[in-house]
């Protein structure tokens, strides 16, 4: 979720009135925003925005626009938008696109601004908006990147070209030297950060003006000359490139409306494509592309649980800055220029909710009667736990991720590692080797616990009922999650016989008839491990035995130990 920094004064100026922090905090929820940190000595405060589909709120002007209309201010008019079949005049401001870009980074939209000198807070806000929009909404520049330039240095038409990265050179921003575009990928910090987006293409995107002067290498870095905007600049050219036209257009609209709200005049720019785009081969931006969205009044009423009138709905939407028309019982909205989050009628319902204010809805319990119950495995677990506690065992609970060393190598002889690894669920992209496997058994968790508990008074009788994960071809995922009961006992007289007594008692009280058969298991001393199977044979419920001193040595444990593990889903099938 994006967090933005805004000058408190600038925000209040944009809202059109000043208010206390308390008032602001009351108001911010209408933008799904929270005051994260109040203003510091420089007057900068931090605000967190929770809606990742509302990038129009991620700037001072954008946030203020929502707060202003919510307080009853008029919805601004933005006359500079082109519409389908109705482009605004862009004079000579043209961008020409090279056909080769269709397969690299196909779309570009742009516009220019003029009319006032940019000051320090404004420049800071533009840079922040650019970063938030391209990082959070533009998926780290993959789908949207943005460049701002000094129009005075540009001769139209601007050319969006695909060029040879090894022979094309220019001086990038934040660097003292001229280098090739290929070199920038490894030698310029922005190249290192964002180069991967284009690195695999034979040609890289490049923006130049009509004379061939470089504007930028989208989506990586501006040039040090045309691309270096400073305080005092009055005329700016802004472009966005990317792979999804609607995201680009709405982002361009957000930036344009923000600048218009700040007092700039917006000058449309026309982009000419040699290939088709969703909006034709010639596209003049800012461009209003949004489609109307409708919802039945009855749906608004039933979802919100309030008998709202058409007038109530319209008034609520107006507070949100949304114009709505009504035909019969259908409410139709024209989404604001800066929003593209109306996918379904329910999205309109939410704005009605916010527009009316949460406090206007009286909480009420659902009237339906339903029967509550625990899941069968949870109910069974609880029966087991009460028997285990009575037998003197301490319940433990552990994390489910760990290392191959802990889950496998410390427990089995080396000759069995490969087989055990094949049974286990490994993470392809672990954060560290300490969290690389889903545990295949509860016993390693209990042994890890014993290994750090040598100072606790003995005997140590511990159990856990928790999930384990194993490969399992019977499931379509090739994996299975099982509920396991793990038990260990560490004491001077711990051993096979003692654990046998515990197991017999527990299975008696849980009502499971069983037989013991000798098992082979590298974790235990040969001849001191038993499989617990249904009477007359069948899939084992689990096994127990006396842990091999080799295992204890691996864990640094110096007390004899026995262990048991059962799978509850198998026990429940036959138990009573």
């Amino acid at each position: 979720m994006p967090k933005i920094e805004v000058y408190r004064d600038a925000l209040m100026r944009c809202i059109g009135r000043s208010m206390s922090d308390d008032e602001l905090e009351e108001l911010l929820p209408c933008a799904k925003a929270e005051l994260d940190e109040p203003a510091d000595a420089e007057g900068i405060m931090k605000i967190e925005l929770n809606d990742t589909n509302r990038p129009d709120l991620w700037s001072t002007a954008g946030l203020a626009r929502q707060l202003r209309t919510y307080l009853g201010g008029a919805v601004s008019d933005y006359p500079f938008f082109s519409r389908r079949g109705d482009p605004r005049d862009s004079a000579d401001r043209r961008v020409v696109v090279d056909a080769a870009l269709e397969s690299i980074r196909p779309f570009l939209v742009g516009f220019a601004v003029t009319g006032r000198a940019i000051d320090e807070p404004m420049l800071k806000d533009i840079i922040q908006t650019q970063e938030k929009l391209t990082w959070n909404y533009g998926r780290k520049r993959k789908s949207i990147s943005m460049g701002v330039y000094r129009t005075d240095l540009i001769e139209y038409p601007v050319l969006y070209r695909a060029v040879n990265p090894d022979t094309t050179t220019f001086q990038p921003l934040q660097s003292e030297e001229v280098m090739s575009m290929r070199e920038m990928l490894s030698r310029h910090p922005k190249g290192v950060e964002f180069g991967a987006i284009v690195a695999d293409f034979p040609r890289f995107p490049l923006l130049t003006d009509a004379r061939g002067e470089v504007l930028s290498f989208p989506p990586v870095i501006n040039s040090a000359h045309i691309g270096a905007v400073e305080v005092g600049d009055e005329n700016l050219f802004i472009e966005l490139t990317g792979i999804d036209m609607n995201s680009l257009l709405v982002t361009a609209s957000i930036v344009a409306c923000d600048l218009a709200d700040t007092g700039f005049t917006i000058l449309p720019v026309t982009v000419e494509y040699p290939y088709d785009t969703p909006y034709g081969r010639s596209l003049t931006a800012p461009y209003y592309f949004q489609e109307r969205c409708s919802v039945e009044l009855q749906e608004v009423q039933s979802l919100l649980g309030e008998g709202l009138s058409v007038g109530d709905v319209q008034a609520a939407l107006e507070r949100m800055g949304i114009a709505a028309t009504v035909h019969d019982t259908t409410v139709t909205v024209d989404p604001p220029h800066v929003r593209n989050d109306f996918m379904h009628g329910v999205d309109v319902v939410e704005d009605v909710m916010i527009g009316r204010g949460m406090e206007s809805f009286t909480p009420e319990m659902p009237r339906d009667f339903t029967v509550g119950r625990l899941s069968p495995v949870e109910a069974y677990s609880r029966r087991l736990k009460s028997v285990l506690v009575g037998a003197g065992f301490q319940e433990m609970i552990f994390n489910y991720l760990g290392s191959g060393r802990d889950y496998i190598e410390r427990n089995y002889p080396e000759s069995e590692w490969a087989e055990q690894y094949t049974r286990s669920i490994q993470i392809a992209n672990p954060m560290s080797e300490n969290y690389e496997f889903v545990r295949p058994s509860t016993i390693p968790s209990l042994l890890a616990s014993e290994a750090v508990s040598g100072n606790a008074a003995y005997p140590h009788n511990m159990f856990e009922i928790g999930k384990i994960g194993l490969r399992d071809d019977r499931d379509v995922t090739g994996t299975g999650t099982f509920t396991a009961l793990g038990m260990v006992s560490a004491d001077t007289d711990a051993g096979f016989n003692e654990m046998n007594s515990y197991v017999s008692a527990i299975l008696y009280y849980i009502g499971l008839d069983f037989e013991l058969i000798e098992a082979e298991d590298g974790r235990f001393i040969p001849g001191r491990v038993a499989a617990v199977v249904p009477v007359g044979g069948g899939t084992e419920y689990g096994r127990f035995g006396e842990l091999h001193p080799r295992v204890l040595e691996q864990w640094g444990i110096q007390m004899p130990m026995s262990a048991a593990e059962f799978l509850l889903e198998r026990m429940m099938k036959d138990g009573r």
């Binding site: 379904h344 809805f361 339903t370 899941s375 993470i427 508990s453 606790a456 008074a457 999650t481």
Partner: protein, 516 residues
């Protein structure tokens, strides 16, 4: 320490102490050995009684002298059995006549070195001389080690006290004793303190109180089966115990405090009419995110946000018609009334296996088998791509649920949230604010004022988007909610580090209990 003067304090005296006090007269000086002789104390009991009484100020040390003890070594024990080297050399010569040194060694079983040194000593004393052909012969017969033999024999019972020996015995003993590293000597010299005690004034008065109370130290402590079988308790009295005496620790079987807290949450939810659901740790991208209408290019679905399973890496298939329904919903909205995300749904990617990253998965997965009306919940382990620290875990529990009903609505959602706030968290105030989740619209967050923790966000909720419910064949509204209960769990257990919830430290787990 002031002398004890209350009967209550007499109860804190051990029978050994009682017997010791009662046997002593005022001003009588005694040592521990004396107690063993008088009272028949076993080894150690006298020392215990004296040290306890001393620490209570009832006995005082009045004299301490250091005495030398001569302890027979293993070598000494051997010589006591086989004779000293000198005795063995003489025995051999007596029985076999004059011999060379190697012959003596062979005959006596002594090493050459010992034969040589023994000859050196005895020839100096005039007992042996060197005869013809380097043969050793007896010059003057007799036992040169008679005194030593007696001492070796006496050393068998107990160490010899220097003070008990006459000067000639002492000089013999000193010639065969060493202080340290005495393996090649017959005796080891040990220094030992000999201590004399006497009753303090307090000790005398406690003794008198014992007498007047009629206590003997023979009162019954632990009642035994034998007392009951023989009826011997009938003529005896019972030793009163000090009720504040420290007790020994009991190691009991116990539930884990965190698990009990989770159980209390589950119990509360079932009491409110919710049925529990559960599911696998390994999920597909389909159920984890696609079914929740999160677009496949969503930034929260990056490789750095979820754990991918290495092998197998994909599920064999996704159940129909859910796969097709969801795919079309993403692409163009299908019949949900949505415009969809407008991209080509990737049917390979959707089979990708990952570790469940959010509990809402199970809410979505439960939909197509859910009863209407129905209420469901789960406390589910989820995995998060985070560095593990005090506030982040690799895996942790999320508490999630849904409510299905023909007529459920936003006001019911608020009602439900208020009930959770009051019943589960004991909230004193509840505040609702609009929220954002990709799978609910409208979305609401609930913030609560907790009596201890103050204001915090208890959970997120909303009404499932039709893009989530319709593909699962559900046409009624579905309220979905998730609660963050970890902060309350920490508070209940008196902890402030999430890692401690899953601690393997047995001692701290044993001691843990609800803090509030």
């Amino acid at each position: 320490m002031p002398p004890m003067s209350f009967l209550a304090d007499l109860k804190s005296l051990h029978p050994l102490e009682v017997k010791t006090l009662l046997t002593l007269s005022d001003g009588e000086r005694f040592d521990v050995l004396y107690l063993s002789e008088r009272l028949g104390f076993k080894a150690g009991q006298g020392n215990q009684a004296v040290s306890w009484l001393q620490s209570k100020g009832l006995l005082v040390e009045v004299e301490r002298t250091t005495e030398l003890l001569y302890e027979r070594t293993e070598l000494g024990a051997e010589y006591a059995q086989t004779g000293t080297p000198a005795q063995r050399v003489l025995d051999a010569l007596r029985s076999q006549g004059p011999m060379t040194m190697p012959e003596i060694a062979a005959a006596s079983g002594l090493p050459n070195r010992d034969v040589g040194s023994t000859y050196g000593r005895l020839s100096k004393e005039g007992s042996l001389s060197m005869g013809e052909g380097k043969r050793v012969e007896i010059a003057r017969d007799g036992d040169p080690d008679a005194a030593l033999t007696t001492l070796l024999a006496r050393g068998d019972r107990a160490p010899l006290r220097g003070a008990d020996l006459d000067p000639s015995e002492l000089s013999v003993l000193q010639s065969v004793s060493k202080k340290r590293g005495a393996a090649d000597a017959m005796f080891r010299v040990v220094e030992r303190d000999h201590v004399l005690f006497e009753l303090t004034a307090g000790g005398s008065s406690v003794r008198d109180e014992l007498r007047s109370a009629g206590l003997t130290g023979e009162e019954i402590g632990q009642v035994t089966a034998e007392h009951l079988q023989r009826g011997s308790w009938k003529n005896a009295s019972f030793r009163p115990y000090g009720v504040n005496a420290p007790t020994s620790r009991l190691i009991v079987g116990r539930r884990n405090a965190y698990c009990e807290y989770l159980d209390s949450v589950k119990d509360k939810l079932t009491s409110l009419g919710f049925e529990e659901f559960d599911g696998p740790l390994v999920e597909t991208e389909f159920w984890n995110s696609d079914a929740l209408f999160m677009p496949q290019f969503h930034s929260a679905r990056d490789i750095h946000d979820v754990y991918y399973v290495k092998e197998p890496d994909h599920a064999r298939e996704i159940e129909e018609p859910y796969l097709s329904n969801v795919a079309q919903t993403h692409e163009n909205g299908w019949t949900t009334g949505s415009r969809g995300w407008g991209y080509a749904f990737d049917r390979d990617f959707t089979r990708r296996l990952i570790l469940r990253s959010q509990g809402t998965v199970m809410s979505a997965k439960t939909l197509h088998t859910a009863k209407i009306p129905g209420k469901y919940f789960g406390v589910l382990r989820c995995f998060r791509y985070d560095q593990v620290d005090a506030t982040h875990l690799s895996d942790f529990y999320q508490t999630e649920g849904i409510v299905l009903g023909e007529e459920v609505n936003l006001r019911n959602l608020l009602g439900l949230l208020r009930m959770f706030a009051e019943e589960l968290a004991g909230a004193t105030e509840v505040k609702y604010v609009p929220g954002y989740f990709p799978f609910t619209e409208p979305s609401v967050e609930v913030h609560i004022k907790h009596p201890v923790l103050g204001w915090f966000e208890l959970g997120g909720s909303g009404i499932f988007r039709p893009e989530v419910t319709r593909p699962m064949g559900i046409d009624v509204p579905v309220l979905a909610w998730g609660l963050g209960i970890d902060r309350m769990a920490l508070m209940h257990l008196g902890l402030n580090d999430l890692r401690d919830l899953f601690s393997g430290d047995l001692e701290s787990v044993r001691l843990r209990r609800r803090a509030g």
